[in-house]
Symmetry: D2
Subunit: 346 residues, 4 copies
């Protein structure tokens, strides 16, 4: 196959950088064009010294490419993405503009009218493990948010199989890179180091994604999900802890019930390369730099409550890695191409 | 008043060290005797250079003192504590041996028979904000665990006032010093740095404390509490996030309901020096080195769920500071003596 | 004595905050007035939640006080300080404006003309261990920079006693709070975490301070000092490593020479409360939150080179603590008043 | 070419793990055999969950392979390596046993008699940039220590070209993974976090390596090198700062001299893939997970002193990556095979 030409819109953000790293090691594609608003005219390696191996100048717009990743803030993304589609370029949008199916809900959460609502129906939510076939056929894929990736993968088997009551708590602990590269006192080293805090207690924009996708797996139920994100002092990684009462009678009592739950999860993900149901509680660091999501389901026998832990690297499986996984499907590569790297540990 | 002579049993652990620091700055007491199993015969400053200002040799047993803090592992603590009581010495036990009222439950969680079950009735659970008068009259106080301190303070107003359903999730994020000074791969720097993990998914020993104390506030209800602790890469601090559905009709609908909750919490803690109901979500670092517990109650309006965040320093309000607070009551000092220091920030 | 009223100019920076914490625990003074440019009209606890125990509103100018700390950027500081002096208020300037004695040198390093050069002669360099008597008699004291404090204390005995050749290398490793509260990509958490870098390779403004004070101890020699600062991923602490060849014949050969060096250092600092010559290599964390500077001198026997390590907390002995120490002398308090707190460890 | 079979002796240490990660992504070799003393009989993924993608059982001894990496402690390594050589297996020893050419010096530093001194002459010091041809022809290569890699690469051009006086100071700041996986209080998270310290002030075992290799580049001079290592709170990375006076007349005065130095360094490393002379001071994080060593030479014009900064990842270019680079030469692969990955940032 002729090498596929790829562009990255906004290489200067953390997802953009990570896309560049992953594209660089992908054997089937070549990065030929990059943009980045504040750095037009500069060399990639000048802006990001760790990318000095990439010999490209940051341009105001992408050249003609076969495939593009858009890593823009919401609101800005949609217009750029539509222009790309019209040029015949397939796109994974790692931003938020095409994740929610409902333009009204989009407006409520993002406080702007959707700039291209007519594309919402076509866009496919890019969680490969749930939507593989539709992604393979798509020209526009909305890459999931970092939190939703971990939350949905942790809960999908339980929700789909009717294992739990609709009352769900999702408590996530995230590394700071998820807050991006924009400066703030919250992410100032001296303030964030040796610190932990909850945020977005009035509602985080990733909540409606989580609800939309899980509700879609169990249309008959009425999920009632509380999602609370926290920042903890590390650069990468999201650990998500999910809690919900088990429906009675779905699994055995006692220790056997734990095994039933594990088996149900193992079955659900048995063919997946990038989701692993693990036998001991996972740690975020075990996924550092890799495209893996590790999942550990168990039961609090005292209360009859399902507990599921998921771990991933927010910039890889929760961002750039998942975007590559989507691109692989859309462009006909084996799904794991360029994503074989093991986690970097310690 | 003549100066009160104080001893610390096991000064070589983190709680022991922190007790030494706090006793050192307490104007009414003097540290006159310290023990530490592995370091008998050494100077305090030799074992812990930051305590070089304390001119004492580590002894195998405490001399005669007016008051002692026991900072020993469970099982070992009880015997030592009883011997002190019999010598007429009042004691705060910062270990776990006298926290649970039920010797059978103690045996289930700690896997040893209680060495001094006859003292369980007399021992007072040392959460000052709930048990102030009984602590003032006690000669033996069981200092609460670090997690229970944050969890109980976060939930006590809601449980006591019947605000919530009995189905409660407590998700805690702790700094690593809570795991103590014993070496392990989990707390090896290269493994713990840039890492987050849940642990004790089969049940943590602090759970029965939380249940015992909260259940005591609402004897008629049947609390069903899931407690899950997590380690995050920082030295000090516990952030606890609590979730429970609101009972219908207890507070107003909508934004007004949030205000009702805050007011209820403010009323509950209005006279407390060391518990503050704050107006913006707190951060663990705001309590670093201080005896404060910061509490932020709010409502997830989408689901009708109470969310309460608490922050504290596990070695101070969750350990040595709370122990000093207990001693102050037991010895007739104003409660805040020696604990006036503000948090060290950043 | 009637309580001394104290003001802090610019309480919103890290040194300003730390001054507030230390003044709060000082038994002889009371904080009565604070300023902070971007936060006029706000409560101290609103801007800095960890200072909520201080009940003051941030004003545009300090009220009449007996003593003031100015914590302003260079250039701005001088004018404010002079106005205070003219109101009869004694001042410790924790900024840089009155540290260098030579207005021309000031202009070269700070790129502005000195706004009040006529006060340079009067101002005393506030390194108590070298200038105690002059500080006690001063109305204006220039608090040393954080790096110079550690470097000068490490080298003063060797330079004053003619122990070393004039060719000196000073390599410092600093926590990030030294860079202040202004936002930058360098101090953005995700970039600074798990990172180390040298900076100011063309010359750091603290170099002329180091040269001025050390040269003053050995007027006959011609010191040739290279000073290179580094940022390492921690919030507080400076570790400084100093290297210089020993002059021949000044100390014994071999191991005995090491002992001679230690003895010389011990003698030099024997009466000091806040400088300790330690017997094992010190760690920055042993000074966390305290006013101590720990010093470890030794000899590289293979090369005949003196090596001296110093450790301090850049915001305390390297900033606010040293400022309090200066105030104590200027206002007639015992030097250690309010600074007795031990390091917070771990 | 038929795929090359590779073994790793002691996969359970940090270098062993990193070798496994890098071998896994190397297109020309296959990991077929691994050992690890404390974990014989376990699956690789059981011991190191992040390596679960490697389907091997840990054996007591390596099977027949074409090539082996030995990652054993000094003293133990030599015997194992010799046995491998005798089985016809080429070896890179990432341990210390074959680095020093002089068995007496080895005994002085390592306190044991060399177990296989007769191989010292044959073993090639595996710093590719200096010894490329000899490595390509070797069957036994001694992988350099992590500190020496950064120090020698930083100083080699200056020493070889006679740019500097023989009086050299090398001050290194290392991440904690360099201390390995053995537990100690020094590397206990709560003690190491937010801490910096110098160590090995009486001499570090990497000093004689540095001296041996640099002295070999300038046999006529008598180098006098002080090397002082420091631990700083990060997992990976070594930043080395080198200081030495310039010989007079070797470069131009003033700014032009800086340019001369940079040009000399650029020329020296112009053909190297893994050593880059950079235009702005480098940061350790820019090399995280990659095989790059970044070097920044400059001049302190006030003192006429050369300053050179080098940055690398101690587990990659300072360990496993360099070992792969050596293997590539020894087995006829292009030098950069399997090492093309960019740094993982942030």
């Amino acid at each position: 196959m002729a090498e596929v030409k790829v562009g990255i819109i906004n290489i200067t953000g953390y997802i953009g950088m990570e896309l560049a790293r992953l594209v660089h090691q992908h054997p089937g594609v070549k990065l030929t064009s990059v943009t980045g608003r504040s750095a037009v005219g500069k060399e990639v390696g000048e802006v990001s010294p760790h990318l000095a191996g990439i010999d490209l100048t940051i341009a105001p717009e992408v050249d003609q490419v076969d495939f593009a990743f858009a890593a823009l803030p919401h609101g800005e993304s949609a217009t750029t993405v539509v222009a790309l589609l019209e040029r015949g370029i397939k796109v994974v949008d790692v931003g938020a503009d095409f994740r929610l199916k409902d333009a009204v809900e989009y407006q409520q959460w993002y406080k702007v009218n959707h700039p291209a609502a007519e594309y919402l129906k076509e866009a496919v939510y890019g969680l490969v493990e749930l939507n593989r076939d539709r992604i393979a056929a798509a020209r526009l894929v909305a890459n999931p948010g970092c939190y939703p990736t971990g939350a949905i993968l942790a809960l999908a088997p339980a929700v789909k199989e009717g294992l739990i009551e609709p009352d769900i708590v999702v408590d996530s602990k995230s590394g700071v890179s998820g807050a991006g590269r924009a400066l703030s006192l919250t992410t100032h080293y001296a303030e964030m180091n040796e610190n932990a805090a909850a945020y977005a207690l009035d509602g985080h924009r990733h909540l409606p994604e989580i609800v939309q996708e899980l509700q879609g797996l169990a249309p008959e139920s009425a999920l009632s999900i509380t999602f609370l994100p926290h920042l903890v002092p590390m650069t990468r990684g999201i650990l998500t802890s999910c809690y919900a009462r088990l429906n009675r009678g779905k699994i055995a009592e006692g220790e056997k019930g734990k095994e039933d739950v594990v088996e149900l999860y193992r079955d659900f993900y048995q063919d997946e390369t990038f989701v692993k149901v693990v036998a001991v509680p996972p740690q975020t660091k075990q996924t550092w730099g890799s495209n893996l999501c590790l999942i550990y389901p168990t039961v609090d026998l005292r209360t009859g409550r399902l507990m599921v832990i998921s771990c991933l690297d927010n910039l890889v499986k929760g961002g750039a890695g998942q975007a590559i996984q989507n691109m692989n499907l859309m462009m006909g590569f084996p799904e794991e191409t360029g994503l074989e790297g093991l986690a970097v540990y310690p």
